[in-house]
Symmetry: C2
Subunit: 331 residues, 2 copies
Amino acid sequence: MASRGPVVPRITDVAALAGVSTSTASKALNDTGQLREETRERVRRAAEQLGFTPDGRGRALSSGRSYTVGLITTDSSGRFSIPIMQGAEDALSAGEMALVLCDTRDDALRESHYLRSLVARRVDGIIVTGRRTEPRAPIDVPMPVVYAFSPSTDPADTSVVMDEYGGATSAVRHLLSLGRRRIAHVTGPATHRSAVVRAAATAAAAGDALIGEPLHGEWSERWGRHAVDVLVRTGDVDAISCGSDQIARGVCDRLRELGRAVPDDVAVTGFDNWSVMALASRPPLTTVDLRLEELGRRTARLLLEMIGGAAPSGVVSLPTELVPRESTLGT
Amino acid sequence: MASRGPVVPRITDVAALAGVSTSTASKALNDTGQLREETRERVRRAAEQLGFTPDGRGRALSSGRSYTVGLITTDSSGRFSIPIMQGAEDALSAGEMALVLCDTRDDALRESHYLRSLVARRVDGIIVTGRRTEPRAPIDVPMPVVYAFSPSTDPADTSVVMDEYGGATSAVRHLLSLGRRRIAHVTGPATHRSAVVRAAATAAAAGDALIGEPLHGEWSERWGRHAVDVLVRTGDVDAISCGSDQIARGVCDRLRELGRAVPDDVAVTGFDNWSVMALASRPPLTTVDLRLEELGRRTARLLLEMIGGAAPSGVVSLPTELVPRESTLGT
DNA sequence: AAACAGACGGAACACGTTTTCCTAAAGACC
DNA sequence: GGTCTTTAGGAAAACGTGTTCCGTCTGTTT
């Protein structure tokens, strides 16, 4: 027992002031047991007067729950993790649950350290999220776990992912519906699952309208600019579907520099709806919104259900949303 | 007492297995009290065998501390909050403290909700961080608080801020040292403290070299581009110091479109070192790094000291760091 | 008036740990 | 050999809450 922290009133103080026992005070404040309304009111008044707030630690111990969930993220700086965090935090705070943040920085040592810490805190459940969509090894803890964004390699675990395949498909369908028939695809490294999935969906949806093979490079504006140079040399295209908004922005910049009008000469689509890129691009990008905040919310809700006793629900795939803007529609 | 959660071994189980009392087991595992080494070892082995992890809730109750700090942020999505969070989390996790995340979304109702929740959890301390550098009203809680990024209006509180004035000064000195003598300043809205402070520092450091008044607009690439049009009409400049990297990127883009070489004709500096902007800009931006992660770390350390009993230390101002890149140095 | 049911509230224990005493055994000293 | 000190370990209380169980008191019924 270290030095006592700040002195805050305990339930016994409230009980004493109201002239009842602690158990009665507890019942009054929690609306349980059989008490006269007058007694309840007296206790409530005493609690108010003292500014009493029940101690979560005692409560946790008594209830067997900590009303806390852990969020393990491989990099919290990632633009993917943040909206997920926000969504999860939103859904959890509604249920009076707190979120403790653990950023492993992709370090296995850190991860095991944090896992021990979360287990020690008797967290009610854990959300695991990654930086990439590659499946990851499940964690071994004695409490419910939900994987978000990067699913568990064990299909029996609960994982929430977004439907990238469907997203890429919707982008291509959009281009086709606008009459584009010579579509190129520029995306990230072939070593990234996202790039491969999006490319496969694009090829399948475009069919004969796909020009050449998908071009793989880095997830950068620079690569987008360079890819345009390559495409221009190859032949003519009337649309470029990109694997990310960064690439798409680079594509737009280079097209403008070459005197090709977007979208009149070439329509461009992005992916991710990363506002910093999609809105700052000239013109603003038609893109696929991943609805990551919804993904976070859904993840948290599934976790809450599992904490409530529900069984794991396997892999849940969430729809994306096409956001049409000037890069395909014009002004 | 709700349904029992996952069954994990308690210290009594360890004690029973080792054939000692619980108090002895506790002492053995915590290296306190007077025990034979052989007994200690026996207990340790039993703990290991059972996979025992002490329950943080019981521990918190007994120690009077929760080993948890709250982080109240007005928007966790902000690119300023995130590095601060990371730094804080880094410094805290080293001390076995967990960080619970509270995103108020700039809503007073949410804020008071979270404050109640944190007080209920008997958090050991709270970090308050904002989206802007404007001072904010202090919070009233019975535990140590440190304000980061946006200081408390009460100078007696502990606040950690960055030295924007010094940062802007260093950028201008850098331009002067490169021989630039006709410097314009393009920055954000005059209603933002950051813009005003940075502009004042720029004017003071530039002296006669400052061309015209600081140009106030939005924190956007679009405004940067537009400001270049204005400046070109006004007269000739050989350097533009910008209030943010976004503005600077817009400035660079427009200068290139107008055929002005950066930095040969006009040198450009940014502010914030937001890599998405600073590195993607053509050319990459010389800019002022705010060292937000260090700010977060420092904040957390000060909080830990206050939790340990130290007195508030008033406003602490942290130095920024000039990062020279091609937009002033050339290739 | 006696028996009974129901309303009300308190005593005690549980949750899991740490810590403060306290006791018994073993050794040291005269 | 008796007293004193040291060592090793246990019993009990503390932290703050929720809940179970039980006793009392009031009012109703026969």
